[in-house]
């Protein structure tokens, strides 16, 4: 089992390193992947075949984690079986008792077993067993359980992770101020579902009634908040404010304030045929106040492509809508149909029809999640921390003492046992022997 455990830890470490060095499809844009395919076709196809471009969902990784889970389970089973068998307690009862490997110290003839027990109690040792002139002391007994508790914690976290991978639901919406999210799974902009989940429908609707974004004097983001109203099937309306790090938990779903937000520009295009097409373009806020928000997108039901450069404040001194300005370029294929500046509310002739820049509203990113496995994770976390603490801060040690009478004096034989930090324990034993000799001579 030692070999298997070592091998599994090495394999998982190497796979993590592969995930750190090889570009992963999950965090790269489709354009990046396309470029990679074109520039290094061989390396791409080999890595893709081995699933190393998506290591953390690859068969190899999942199987390794599953094996780790199995091996840990077996290890824990063995540990629990062994746990309560203390070899020392057994040896204490033996009739023929060997003093091999024991250290000895000469003590005063009046020294009793009770004196020795008191001495060790003062040093933080507990009397575990006493058989005539033999005593077994132990300190930090809990330390013995450290590895068991620690590995049980890892097992629970893996269990939680497997459960999460199978059953989680996660969805992202860009909610425009004044608009309502239907709660239907298909209306999420991005969705991430567990292996055994088919969709993510929510049994209530969410309307964004207000959105605030605040900045420090230095221009860095200070705070975000979304005020929403939820409406469920029983027509109950509730108002909530969601801020970062404080998700709203409502009807089994957690709603998080995402750090993605920005402005939505709405247009109405009246075609020469009289047909009207309304469109909203949601642009991400720019990281710097003096940089524009950019977006390139198709205009639905037309062949036009809108290339936008938007400043909430054309003086470039604010993220708020002070003097908004849009630099717009409209293309149809390779042909530029329009290039110029538009302000909200403005309207113009366009290709025989009319284009109106209707309005600008805030949009806020909201993340909806259903994260199963919470209890596994938190219990696992507590066990891992407690176990590691017991292993390294409370190393268990045991001392067996045998008090013999010899020529009117007493001789105390001692033997210590510990699993960790032998050199320190040996020093401690020597100190104890010296102190015993001083106190009982």
């Amino acid at each position: 089992m030692k070999k298997i455990a070592t091998l599994l830890i090495i394999v998982i470490t190497i796979l993590c390193l592969a995930g750190a060095f090889i570009p992963q499809a999950s965090d790269k844009s489709p354009q990046f992947i396309e470029r990679w395919k074109r520039t290094y076709p061989l390396s791409y196809s080999v890595l893709h075949f081995l699933q190393l471009d998506r290591v953390f969902s690859s068969y190899l990784f999942v199987v390794s984690i599953f094996l780790l889970f199995l091996v840990l389970s077996y290890f824990l089973y063995l540990q629990i079986k062994l746990l309560f068998k203390s070899s020392m307690k057994v040896s204490l009862k033996k009739t023929c008792f060997s003093l091999n490997g024991f250290k000895s110290v000469r003590l005063d003839g009046k020294t009793e077993v009770a004196h020795i027990a008191n001495f060790f109690r003062d040093k933080g040792y507990r009397t575990v067993a006493m058989e005539g002139n033999r005593i077994l002391f132990a300190r930090h007994g809990i330390g013995k359980f450290g590895t068991l508790i620690f590995h049980a914690g890892i097992l629970l976290v893996i269990l939680g992770a497997l459960y999460y991978a199978g059953f989680h639901k996660r969805g992202f919406v860009q909610l425009i101020k004044g608009d309502t999210f239907s709660g239907r799974g298909d209306d999420f902009l991005v969705k991430d579902l567990g292996l055994f989940r088919r969709n993510f429908d929510i049994d209530y609707q969410v309307r964004l009634v207000d959105f605030k974004h605040e900045y420090w004097g230095t221009g860095e983001l200070k705070n975000l908040s979304s005020t929403i109203i939820t409406a469920n099937q029983e027509d109950r309306f509730k108002k909530w404010v969601i801020v970062p790090n404080a998700p709203l938990n409502y009807r089994g779903i957690s709603i998080y304030q995402s750090f993605n937000y920005g402005y939505t520009l709405s247009f109405l295009l009246k075609k020469p045929s009289g047909e009207e097409v309304l469109c909203h373009f949601s642009l991400d806020i720019s990281p710097h106040v003096n940089k524009p928000m950019r977006g390139v997108s198709d205009y639905p039901l037309t062949a036009y492509i809108f290339d936008m450069e938007f400043y909430p404040d054309k003086d470039r001194s604010s993220f708020y809508l002070k003097k908004p300005m849009l630099k717009l370029s409209i293309m149809e294929g390779n042909e530029r149909k329009f290039e110029g500046v538009m302000e909200p509310g403005s309207e113009m002739e366009f290709e025989g029809g009319r284009l109106k820049f209707l309005e600008i509203r805030n949009w806020s990113g909201l993340i909806f999640t259903l994260s199963p496995g919470k209890y596994f994770f938190y219990t696992g976390f507590i066990l891992i921390i407690a176990g590691a603490f017991f292993i390294y801060f409370l190393p268990a040690s045991e001392i067996i003492c045998v008090l013999e009478a010899e020529d009117g004096r007493r001789i105390l034989y001692l033997k210590g046992l510990t699993k960790r930090y032998h050199a320190l324990f040996n020093e401690e034993m020597e100190g104890l022997i010296k102190e015993l000799a001083g106190r009982f001579s």
């Binding site: 830890i9 750190a20 992963q24 992770a161 930090y421």
Partner: protein, 276 residues
Amino acid sequence: MQDLSLLKYETIFHWIAVLLYISSSILFMYGLTFKKEKGLNSGWIVSLSGLIPHSIALGIRWFVQGHGPYMIKYEVLSSNAWICIVMFLVISRKISRLKAAGGIVVAVSFIAMTAGLFTNPDIKMLPPSLRSIWLLIHVLFNKLATASLLIAFSASVLYLLKEGKGEAQLFSLSTYMLDLYNYRFAGIGFFFWTITIIAGAIWANQSWGRYWGWDPVETWSLVTWLLLGFYLHMRVFYRWSGRKAAWAMVLCFSVSVLTIFIIPMVVESLHTQYFQ
């Protein structure tokens, strides 16, 4: 944010601390090389006196910006150095023979602080994602882990030096004890690193609605933890000790430095937000 002009005093105190730490390192090196207990003791006292201006410098920054020193490289390097020196001073006060590790702990700390001086010290305010108690726990335990691993690393380097020169040479601390301190502080570092990862996962869940996202720094942090776990297993399973264990610890410490300081600088990560 308070009066920014106070920051000029911060720079002065920071420099005084760097100079005192340099002097302390020289004294430690002298003590180590010539087996002079006096050198180690003086080095210890000088590093303690360096800690005073260093604490004042960090205190000023904290006061001015209104949040702890964990946002930009300059303050991250300085606060990490501070924790390393505090931990070293506290531990070597209790375990006097560990003063020998000062030659490496204080030297690495002042190198980190000096490196910080070449980075932009401008204040960066806290974004909303970083306003969480879990962030504080995450950062604090990561610094404690770094300090513990640095002590384990120092014990390993001293082990390798002493083994090369012979037991009678250099400082009086035996290779046997150095190996033990390597193990002891690797275990403590592993414990702190474990809390760092767990606090980070809880904070990520609070902020982004997921415990783990395979962000590059997250992945590297897991690699460091697994590597430490591997090393600790080797000590128990195959009785690794001495030279092998010392080299393994040097590797673990190097990977931890890569994770904390190098990776956030070279790759785009959630963690680059607070190491710019």
